[in-house]
Symmetry: C2
Subunit: 381 residues, 2 copies
Amino acid sequence: MKTEQPYLLTPGPITTTLSVKQAMLQDWGSWDADFRAMTAQLCQSLVELVDGEGSHVCVPMQGSGTFAVEATLATLVPKTGKLLILMNGAYGQRMGKIMDYLGRAYVALDKGDYEPPRAEEVAALLAADPEITHVAVVHCETSSGILNPVEEIAEVVARQGRRLIIDSMSAFGAVAISAKKVAFDALISSANKCFEGVPGFGFVLIRQSVLEAAAGNAHSLSMDLLDQWQYLVKTGQWRYTPPTHVVAAFLQALKEHAEEGGVSGRHARYQRNQQRLVAGMRQLGFETLLSDEWLSPIIITFFSPGHANFDFQTFYDRIKARGFIIYPGKLTEADSFRLGCIGQLYDTQIDAVLAAVAAVLDEMSIPDGTPAHVLDSLATA
Amino acid sequence: MKTEQPYLLTPGPITTTLSVKQAMLQDWGSWDADFRAMTAQLCQSLVELVDGEGSHVCVPMQGSGTFAVEATLATLVPKTGKLLILMNGAYGQRMGKIMDYLGRAYVALDKGDYEPPRAEEVAALLAADPEITHVAVVHCETSSGILNPVEEIAEVVARQGRRLIIDSMSAFGAVAISAKKVAFDALISSANKCFEGVPGFGFVLIRQSVLEAAAGNAHSLSMDLLDQWQYLVKTGQWRYTPPTHVVAAFLQALKEHAEEGGVSGRHARYQRNQQRLVAGMRQLGFETLLSDEWLSPIIITFFSPGHANFDFQTFYDRIKARGFIIYPGKLTEADSFRLGCIGQLYDTQIDAVLAAVAAVLDEMSIPDGTPAHVLDSLATA
């Protein structure tokens, strides 16, 4: 076991507390009452966090977040349905891929790398196509780091009588959302993002009446959320072997989430991380992809330095040697990289990352982080 | 954290070593080179353990073992294929359910609760139905605890030019199987059975040529083993977020598996556990469901005591209070319960379980474990 572990500045898995990891130092029988009580507590806490008591239920799903997204689309969008996917990055695109596998109808509003989908355009699309039954949106699209305007979208979707599915994988736990205020049929998230658990399962907060009417929709036994939920209700157990240790870690993570002040407390720290990181990086000449209005407190995309000496792998390796794992970019049109604000990161770590970036630029003989398009405009000026 | 943890006498999750659990006390970036190296090592070790070098590749799959089974059937049995499922318990039946979801053709040889499928019957079925392209068999069917005769089945399947899929979830790691001797296209297993890791992913050892020809078969993005493998080959990464901590625990478990003497060493301990457990239970009047020939070194089904005072939940709770979690039965026709032989169990634990069973029978005023059918035959004699 290494004593010095690098901090993860990524969109998950993230750096968790030692106490969260220590919760895994025990084995549980997944059939046993002790573990059933843990599952019940997990589900109840998550329903409460989304103000879903009486309307929504929690269905945990083994596997990565993508499994939970696929399970949700398959269980909730019937074979005769049609989905509008609001795309502005890899996760919206992935929903399209899922629908291709499912062989179910969908259209996409593709805003490219980072433009937000807006209520007016969604309203126009829905008005023009009455066959659309469901709309899916990614809450925080970590491809760019944008926080999409889920509230205004939910409003037009509800007004036009369609059903909303929110992929809140990277936002739930740190960005407030209430089922009492935002009308959604499903909100999907995972253990290892803003709740600061370890990876191994996702979960879906689903409107109970909608779930109950979803018989026969799912394409897959493993991913049938209705079957998963019915078994859970009947037995108190996960339908198939759960990642018991990961579940135990998540319960500890939920406890620490509450101790930090719940969603608002977690949001405040991440927001502070983001502002400190953006301010520091801008001082080093870096530029964010997004204007401040659209920056999430989850992850930030920076343009890569335009200087000829810049090479991402070298930059990554040298920053890693200083104790931080950063994240590559995912833009199709510009060189970029990403820095996460989530996980066990505080002022000390943010300041140390900024110092590491400055030192590595220096080592690579790059004067500052000024991106290519700025250097170009300076050259032509 | 409890200091006294009950031992799990179940078919998995099982009791793992402290060192396996301690391997989870670190966070990894799933994109990072350190974790990519861990994934590569995991896959290489598993291919070696099945003698699959040059013929088979390892494709890990997030989620429970059932996810890996569904992914394998969907990826390998084409839409125009037809599967023969050899059923003698819940896991064979579950494959039928999966095929129902997939909407692909299958027939079953259903042997009921515990009879083994034999080579001659499989040969006859294959000869009578040339449309059958694939055969699926459960290696150790933990419903009864039977170790199915996979070798003789593989032989007739190969002789008739069909393809074999083995669900070796509960056997691989403790029951020797070699791709050089047993012709299979896929062998499916999971982290938390005989390898003594913690639950969170499964894996499939697949014949590479067959996998490469499987484009377009899968019904699901998340479960497309070809796509999963191609991404792994291209990037060294899991396609979607892996359960990083569970993977780390598995690597430690693999190390301890090798230290115990690999498959033969692990088999020897489990076999010893089984024999000690069966002998001790028989001394207490209990009867095994299966004759010795079919008993696996994985888990054993015992008939419940026929005495009127017996109540499974009370029996379970009292044995749990003495530090052991046992497993309910899964037979349709007779009351039974199961005791596992796998995980961190040695003579000391086996003897203590036997003592606990004896003490609990005593507490419940049950003279011994004699099952109902024996009591009945004594009464009518």
